[in-house]
């Protein structure tokens, strides 16, 4: 990377797109997790809280061990562990998913602040280094944006492909989608609704935790109160925007990531537009998608899992 050869505008453009990829990775990991959970029929509004837990454990794990990989692992496990609360309350015990999810956000944020209290001004760092893809990373501008990212970005792509494959090309995925569409049907066909759903929620939480750890081991690189800054909520909106499909969620993550990257970079480009309005864009786009979905739903079933948000209890007489 030889910055001297680039003009100032080019540097700013690269900066914008590099940040886009970073935010997209962050949103995609959490959004993918939420997609898996919602495809199994469980709405988890605790993404923001799980992300915060992932961020604080990711940072602590990273600086205490000296390795960002350990940080990422610890953050992922912590995210999955806290998601188990939602899985137990909302799936195993059949509590209201909205209430339980919101509680998880509040609990996660509070717990993260409490645990991370001693680490807020910790000068230590455990950061991922960019990985240059040999040959490709030397391409002018494109190389810097696409082929010189953190290993987590490449991992997110691989995880996305795996998730797509499992959902669409395996019997477990078929069962999981059936559980989300019609739990009684899946139950009668021999799939364990509770097991499937709890698994999906925990995997979803782990991915949200990984997303948070990525924040504290790369994007921001430190732990501070409020480091997640509402990005968990954008991930929830992203799932709807992406119509519950991993590929579209990835595309949406790029778009939403771009709006996040743009917020702090409007001024350098000399654009006089309120960054606050830009920060509203993801939600506006999501509402737009919801309208499109409901218009199309007159002729075909909604892409939203039919059993989303409905606790399952076996029929009893």
């Amino acid at each position: 990377m030889i910055l001297a050869e680039l003009t100032i505008t080019e540097t700013a453009v690269i900066g914008l797109f590099v940040a886009t990829i970073q935010f997209a990775t962050l949103l995609f990991l959490a959004g993918l997790g939420e997609t898996i959970s919602e495809r199994a029929g469980v709405l988890n509004l605790g993404v923001e809280g799980m992300m915060a837990i992932g961020a604080v454990f990711g940072f602590i794990g990273g600086v205490e061990s000296g390795s960002p990989w350990v940080g990422l692992l610890v953050g992922t496990i912590a995210g999955g562990a806290i998601a188990l609360l939602h899985a137990t309350a909302a799936v195993a015990l059949g509590a209201d998913q909205v209430v339980s999810g919101l509680a998880l956000t509040m609990l996660g944020l509070g717990l993260a602040d409490f645990i991370g209290d001693d680490y807020t001004s910790d000068p230590r760092r455990a950061l991922f280094a960019e990985v240059d893809i040999p040959g490709l990373s030397d391409i002018r501008i494109v190389g810097d944006v696409l082929f010189s990212a953190s290993p987590v970005t490449y991992m997110a792509i691989v995880l996305g492909v795996i998730a797509w494959f499992v959902l669409n090309r395996t019997s477990i995925g078929l069962g999981l989608r059936a559980v989300g569409q019609s739990a009684s049907t899946a139950d009668a066909a021999g799939h364990s609704v509770v097991g499937m759903r709890m698994g999906a929620v925990v995997v979803g939480g782990a991915l949200a935790g990984m997303s948070g750890a990525y924040l504290s081991t790369f994007v921001v690189g430190a732990w501070s109160v409020g480091v997640t800054a509402g990005r968990g909520w954008i991930a929830v909106a992203l799932v709807i925007f992406g119509a519950w499909r991993p590929g579209r969620v990835a595309a949406g993550a790029l778009l939403f990531g771009f709006t996040l990257a743009l917020q702090s970079r409007l001024q350098p480009f000399g654009v006089n537009f309120s960054p606050i309005l830009v920060s509203m864009l993801p939600y506006l786009l999501t509402v737009g998608v919801l309208v499109v979905i409901s218009i199309r739903a007159r002729n075909q079933p909604s892409p939203s899992p039919a059993g989303l948000g409905i606790p399952y209890r076996r029929e009893e007489r």
Binding site: Q181, S182, S184, A186, A188, A189, N299, P301
Partner: protein
Amino acid sequence: MSPAAVELDGIWKRFPGVIANAGASLTVRPGTVHAVLGENGAGKTTLMNCLAGVYLPDDGAIRIDGQEVRFSSPADALAAGIGMVHQEFRLVPTFTVAENVVLGAAPSILDMAAINREVAALAERFGFDADPERPVWQLSMGERQRVEILKALWRDARVLILDEPTAVLTPQEAVELGAVLRRMVEEDRAVIFISHKLDEVTSFCDEATVLRGGSTVAASIAIADVDAGQLAELMVGSSSAVKSLAPRVGVAGDVMLDVRKLTVTDSRGLTAVDALSLEVRSGEIVGIAGVAGNGQRALTDAIAGLETATSGSVTINGSDVTKAGTRERVDSGLAYIPEDRLGVGLAPKLPVTHNAVMRSYRTMRQGPLLSWDRAKAFCSDLISRFEVKVGRFDDPMASLSGGNLQRLLLGRELSGNPVVVVASQPTRGLDVAGVGAIQHLLVKQRDEGTGVLMISEDLDELLALADRILVMSEGRIVGEFDPRQASRAEIGEAMIGAHA
């Protein structure tokens, strides 16, 4: 002799307040279609649910091919080769036919192209016509039923239980189903066919077991040895219960309900009711026959004001109510017994009193407030006049049995002295006593000069009650019959005619 494919021995199953099975027994030989007959509430479905692993029997033994088994879930029963097609289909609407068929029994990595081929081949083997790649939400009820049967066959079920399979079929589809079942038993499988339609039982079953009051009253009788009358007698206990109601004495009077070129578009943008015209006169029962899902619900909802008409008009007792709300229609003299009685007709969680006064609460005002004393008085009057059995008045509506729910609903609707009654499936799912009471009330109402529009999937009921039968198919009236002259076959043909 080889062991029976299925042997249920002295099955007991109790639910709170109800004994569904009291020592019922059933023996089914492989290679036969075995009918399980009985009236609503005779315990047929419960017994089959015990066999299919849905319920665990309280007492009694289940033996499959001579081996005693104990199923704790439907999946256990499936693994032992018992497949059941329930009345409410267990299908994922957004999945394709093939995805539904293999759900729960798929290879771990899905090669959909290969699965589609295998499902198509399986369908062909049993004489079905099924496109494995079509999403289930696009299929008719008859086609969905085939997907359910394919599900069981995909798992190589040795015993297939069908719970009232022909309720959702056209007469033609029912005949086709019979052919499929014959092909299954040729492969030495066993089919258990739950029904209360005697003509189907006699046309494609080999043996029959009759249940009454939760126990077996006749086991494995050969169909060839009995006639429909004998079976009916076994089912109801005495032949007198099968009675035909007296035809009307008076003459039809003025037009009370006039539907002109009514078109209704459903939520999916499809035409549910297509330029349909009909009239109901004072003092007559007009029956609408037809296979479920041919626009009956959209028609009754449009008459009641729950669905908006795209074009055409609805006139009740001379006043045009096409654009009127539901209250105005009620005030014009309409009574509506919706198909979905515990949902549209009654509020399941509200107390009995609230439900009872829902139509006429405006007459119970005390200043700006509702007089609960008068509401309770009204409710208790309704309950005694229509013989509704309730616990306490503030029990939730849903705690009542089907027959009592319907009596209260009918009582509430009829107590407003309506000029037109629109009753959709008013007797579906009720026991014999309930059916009789509801039918009697409708006939009485007719004799008092009310016009009654009755939608039923039970052709026998329409033949017994209606003064005129209109056949509805694909949103249109495709034929009119005089029940005293028309035959079941003629009407059945009209029901499916428009499909051809």
